[in-house]
Amino acid sequence: MIWAGYLTVGMIFVYCWNLVSETTIWMFVWDAHNQAVDLGERMVPPKWDYMSKLWWPIWDTLNIATLGTVLALIMAVPVAFFAARNTTPSTVILRPIALFIIVASRSINSLIWALMLVTILGPGVFAGIIAIGLRSIGFCAKLLYEAIEEIDEQQVEAIRATGASGPQILVYGVVPQILPAFAGISVFRWDINIRESTVLGLVGAGGIGLQLNASITNLAWTQVSLILLVIIATVVLSEWVSAKVRHAII
């Protein structure tokens, strides 16, 4: 049984490999190590004084991630309540719609969202914020609705038994139970969004990716290496912040 599994995977693999190798120019591949050495040489040392031109893009990147996350959370909350089996107002219409929103938002990478939004709204930070927001709705709503489905129904029932209205039941019975999950999800997604917003500029949606794109096009490799260092630093910093915040919440 297990061997049959391995065999199937192996056969699919070999088939796919043949298809890829047909479209590959192997000469380039064999030459790749020379290219890599060459590129490496051209990238050091990083051009440190370019840093002064990067502060503003860094600020933009941070804003794209943060505002995008806030936007996503605002939209994800109702979607999650519509998607959770135990809080949805209608299983037949609203729940499938909410689930579709979640799948659609999650299937499409933020870069593709950005690509679309840049064509529609024009290039800039605004498109980036919306792209991050749209991409994150699905992620946040999915985790949130799973948390809602896992709540202790007894506590909700107890509130219902007091004669509370629908909104009161939500606020007293459901919300306190999912608040920790909500906080965790927000921070977690914010951390991911910092990473994602560093590259949105490649398609024109603002942030440090714009400088990266421009430097690559101009073959300004010393600027590229500086930007990569800045990206690593930002990512490490945001990971540290989110770990701290998550620790403080729990």
């Binding site: 007894q154 029932e157 107890a158 007091t162 004669g163 509370a164 009161q168 606020v171 306190p176 139970q177």
Partner: protein, 283 residues
Amino acid sequence: MLRLQNLKKQYKTGDLALKGVDLEVPDGQIMALIGPSGAGKSTLIRCINRLVEPTGGKVFLNELELSNLGAGALRRARRRMGMIFQEYALVERLSVMENVLSGRLGYVGFWRSYLRKYPQSDVDEAFRLLGRVGLDHMVDKRADELSGGQRQRVGICRALAQDPELLLVDEPTASLDPKTSRQIMRLICELCKERKLSAIINIHDVMLAQMFAERIVGLKLGEIVYDGPPDGLTSDVLTEIYGEEDWEATIRKVDEDENGESEGEADGHLAPILDRDRMAGAT
């Protein structure tokens, strides 16, 4: 007065949990509902406040028919019925005070409750109730920091904060140790007497039921098989409700317990609470 008429419940799974129950609970009566697990005790009290929708029959609370009320009227009716749960069912991440005040949700509007701006009279009542059960020193503790007995007292306060005329109590002692169980049962019964509430108390512990209730109803497979005073629970009746078993020991033990009760309890936890309440009542 509460009246059930031919109350039926069939779950979607096909289980026939109640097979046409007729029952009348006069004002101020404390009734214990006993029966083996799966008899339909929880289903019965949940059908009264319609946490579970009955599939047949009628429920009247003071001539108001509950079984066909619309959503708004049902909420107003639920305010009149306090419910106490086996697992306490406190909202664990809210404070003791918030849990007690949540008993007032049926009376205050959304924003008031959301912003925790309850009328001072509600807050007064909540403090009074918490004082009565001996928890007024931990109003801002989170509910999940309390012990089982303390949680159940908060649950009692929440139910009473509703200013109900009927208490629906579902296995209040099933998660508590024997001593705390008695204290909680005594507290519930005393509060019912003070406030002239009627109560339906689901309980699987026959001894406790006999000790505290004025009337006992035995339920078996969704049907009432006994309805009478506590001392009518003979070994035959218990066999009828629970099946074959040696019941003599249970019955005798209850008698002994009742004799030894008054001395044993003097140093119990509840004594100072009762004193305190007497003082409050005396002023």
